[in-house]
Each structure stands twice: as structure tokens, then as C-alpha cells.
């Protein structure tokens, strides 16, 4: 494999420093066999600039902390091999989320807020009996829940969404997907009107304008178009009866 020299253009900005201005800094780096952006960024930090800020935890596409704009596309840096990219690579932090510095953003606060606003927990009046055997559900339902539950909260669907970029209260595809998960769960006793209160508005499903950037960018391929459409149809039925 011929080793290329990569020019990595990185967005630099420290919002904490009143004298700092957003800018792009270029680092050059020798490409290595099997190099991911996780490896590349760590090399830059070790060898060229120890102040560079970025997030990684699992480096295996599981924790969702390394979402960023890679040549514009919102995706996971740890899953991206440099050999899939051109010689020039531009890295920017995900929009929408609070910028902590350089490539690092705070997705946690945003997702916590969404969980609270969409009331992402099982609503039930049944008293909990720790001794009882768990209720059974069909395998199909379990798989459907699992499909939505796979979301790693990386925020790529939110950063790529034009609506989320200009409407701070929009819950985005990850939020709608979260609600879809509870809608199919037989243990949740909420009726459709209760869900309508949570997502039947411009901040919820009816704010989505169908750009499908979320569907195109989810790094673990959650079928977001289908999830959005499922919730939209349910909420349309609920809205109709209201």
C-alpha cells in the first residue's frame, strides 16, 4: 500500500476563551495501514498539538461519543478508515450540540433533555412485584423494540438535520425513534393521546420536513425513515380523533 500524506483540516475554537476566534488548522500526517480517524487524531495530539480537543471512549462504534462532521458528513470518527477518504480531510464538530472546544461537543445534556421531554420510561400503574415472573412478549415485538433501542446517541442524525439546526426545541430523529420504541412496548400503558401530547407538534414529528439526512447518516443504520413515518401515521390518527 502506497502511504499517502494526509492533510487534516481541523476546526479549532475554544468558546471559553474570549480572545479565541473560530478557525481551521491544518495538520499533515503520514497515513498508516488500517488507520482510523481515532488513530489519526490521537497521533496528532501526541506528536503535534497536545491541546487538541476531541472525544473517544470505546473506539468501536458503541459509545457514540466520537460523532463529528467528516468532510461534511456526520458520522463516527472511530469507525471511519482514512483509506476511505481523500488526501484532504476536513473535521468539524457536530452542530446543534453545545461546543466544548474544537471537535468536542456535549451530546449528553441534549439527550437527557429529550428523554425527559419525550417521557422515555415505561408508564404503568401496575405495582411492581419483584418476585413475579416477567411478562412475556412476542419475539417480533422484542426485535422491534431492540431495533430502536440500538441508538447509541451519537447525535449524527441531529447534527445533520437542517430543522434541528434552526429549531432548538425540535426533538429530531433520535427523539422520535425513542418515542417509537415505547409505542411498540406492550408494557407501556400510554394511549395514543398521551403520545400526541408529547410528539404531536412542530417540536415533535410534525416539525420534520423529510430531508432524510438522519436516515442517510445514522452510522448504525437504524431505519429512521420508517420510524419517523410510523410515528407520523400514529400521531396523524391520534390528531384526527382529538
Amino acid at each position: 500500500m502506497s502511504q499517502r500524506e494526509l492533510a487534516i483540516h481541523i476546526f479549532r475554537y475554544n468558546p471559553e476563551d474570549p480572545n479565541d476566534e473560530p478557525k481551521t488548522e491544518t495538520f499533515t500526517l503520514q497515513e498508516e495501514e488500517g488507520m482510523t480517524l481515532f488513530i489519526a487524531l490521537n497521533k496528532i495530539r501526541e506528536e503535534q498539538d497536545p491541546t487538541l480537543k476531541f472525544d473517544f471512549v470505546c473506539r468501536a462504534g458503541i459509545c457514540g461519543s466520537c460523532g463529528m462532521l467528516i468532510n461534511g458528513k456526520p458520522t463516527l470518527a472511530c469507525k471511519t478508515l482514512t483509506k476511505t477518504l481523500p488526501d484532504d480531510i476536513t473535521l468539524m464538530p457536530l452542530p446543534v450540540f453545545k461546543l466544548l472546544g474544537d471537535l468536542s461537543v456535549d451530546t449528553g445534556t441534549w439527550f437527557r433533555d429529550i428523554s425527559l421531554r419525550t417521557e422515555s420510561w415505561i408508564h404503568t400503574d401496575k405495582p411492581f412485584d419483584p418476585e413475579a415472573e416477567e411478562e412475556r412478549m412476542s419475539n417480533e415485538t422484542a426485535l422491534q423494540i431492540y431495533e430502536a433501542e440500538r441508538c447509541i446517541e451519537c447525535g449524527c442524525c441531529i447534527g445533520g438535520c437542517a430543522t434541528a439546526n434552526i429549531k432548538p426545541d425540535f426533538i429530531g430523529a433520535a427523539g422520535v425513534n425513542r418515542v417509537a420504541r415505547f409505542m411498540v412496548d406492550p408494557r407501556d400503558e400510554r394511549d395514543e393521546q398521551a403520545y400526541f401530547d408529547v410528539v404531536g407538534s412542530e417540536d415533535g414529528i410534525f416539525g420534520c420536513i423529510g430531508l432524510m439526512a438522519c436516515d442517510d447518516n445514522c452510522p448504525i443504520d437504524i431505519p429512521l425513515q420508517g420510524q419517523l413515518a410510523y410515528v407520523r401515521r400514529k400521531m396523524a390518527a391520534a390528531g384526527w380523533k382529538r
Binding site: I166, M212, A213
Partner: protein, 211 residues
């Protein structure tokens, strides 16, 4: 929750406006395609076109069409306005966002907003002309055989583009289709309808030249 939010929570207005947008949009697409097929009756000859026009005038279908178009366009514009970024800051953010993420469907949405705004003006002009002059092949031919030709060509492209992208988005949002095959089908349909429109215009143009 803040006080001003309590005014809007739990209401079904957002849903209803969305419904108005979707239904008026679908009706307008159906109208546009029917309209283009009717216009293409000129391909069968001047008599066919005039007979159809006469039929429409006789049964007041033309009046009905004009009333329909005013209502449907009004409803559609009213409903979609909430989606067009109104503030200058939002405009700046959204264009920069589209440039940054280089995502086709995001660009097509911006073009949809632009073509939609342009079409509002073109539709008003078009409806005025038809209402004042009526429909007649000689009149149409004369009009097409002038600088107005460009008006019709631009209008044709904008309308077909806007309709096709809008239909794609509506179907994708409600989820009755596979995205990528839908895109392919709609591209073919759009090319056909634009082709049909261009051929009709060409027939009118040569009719106008020979008269």
C-alpha cells in the same frame, strides 16, 4: 414549561396545518399533471385542443379550475410559509449547513423553497392571463411565439421540479414507499412531463410562426 408555551401545548393545530400542506400539495401535483396532459392535446391537432377548451368553458370547468387553483395555492402557501426560514440568521445558518454537509435531499429542499417562491409570482401572472384572454389555440400560439416563450419554459421547469420533489418528500415522510426506487420513478416521470410540455410548447411556437 414557560407560560407562553402553555398557549400552544396539546393543541392539534400543528397537525392540521401539516395536513393542509400535504393535501393541498398532492392536489396541486394532480392538477399540474392533468393540466399538462390537457395542454398536450395540441399534439392531436388544433381542433382537438380547441374542442377540449370549448368543452371546459361550456361546462364552467375553467372557472372551477381557477377557483381551485386560487384556493389550493393559497392554502399551500399559507401552510408552507411556517417552514421557510424567516429570519436572516436562520437563512444564513441553513445555507451554510447545506454547504457543509453536502447532502442532496437537503439541497433539494432549499431549491424547493426557492422554486416555490418564484412560482407564486409566475402562477399569479399565468392565471391572470388565462382568465382575461380565455383559452384558444391561436391566442396561445401567438403568446408562445413571443418573448413569453421564456416565461413558459422557466415556469414548466420550476413547476415540474417543485411538484416532483414535493411529492417525493410527502411520500417519504408518510412512509409508503422505498426512498431510492421512488426517486428513480419520479425522475423519469418528471423528465417525461417536462418533455411533453416542451413538445407542446414547440407545437404552439411553430403554429404561431406560420400564422
Amino acid at each position: 414549561m414557560e407560560l407562553q408555551r402553555t398557549y400552544i401545548s396539546g393543541k392539534k393545530t400543528d397537525f392540521l396545518v401539516e395536513l393542509v400542506q400535504t393535501i393541498s400539495g398532492l392536489l396541486l401535483v394532480a392538477f399540474l399533471w392533468t393540466h399538462m396532459i390537457f395542454v398536450a392535446s395540441i399534439l392531436l391537432g388544433v381542433n382537438a385542443f380547441n374542442a377540449l377548451a370549448g368543452f371546459m368553458e361550456h361546462y364552467h370547468l375553467l372557472d372551477a379550475a381557477v377557483i381551485f387553483i386560487i384556493l389550493a395555492v393559497g392554502a399551500h402557501v399559507g401552510a408552507v410559509l411556517r417552514r421557510v426560514p424567516g429570519r436572516w440568521q436562520e437563512q444564513k445558518m441553513i445555507w451554510q449547513h447545506a454547504r457543509t454537509i453536502k447532502h442532496n435531499d437537503t439541497w433539494s429542499w432549499l431549491f424547493q423553497a426557492v422554486t416555490g417562491s418564484a412560482m407564486l409570482i409566475l402562477i399569479i401572472i399565468h392565471v391572470f392571463i388565462v382568465v382575461y384572454a380565455g383559452i384558444d389555440s391561436t391566442l396561445s400560439a401567438e403568446r408562445v411565439h413571443s418573448w413569453m416563450l421564456w416565461f413558459y419554459i422557466v415556469f414548466l421547469f420550476l413547476a415540474e421540479y417543485h411538484a416532483s420533489v414535493g411529492l417525493y418528500r410527502a411520500l417519504v415522510k408518510w412512509g409508503y414507499v422505498k426512498r431510492h426506487s421512488l426517486k428513480r420513478i419520479l425522475t423519469i416521470v418528471t423528465i417525461c412531463t417536462i418533455g411533453l410540455g416542451l413538445i407542446s410548447l414547440w407545437v404552439f411556437y411553430s403554429l404561431g410562426g406560420s400564422a
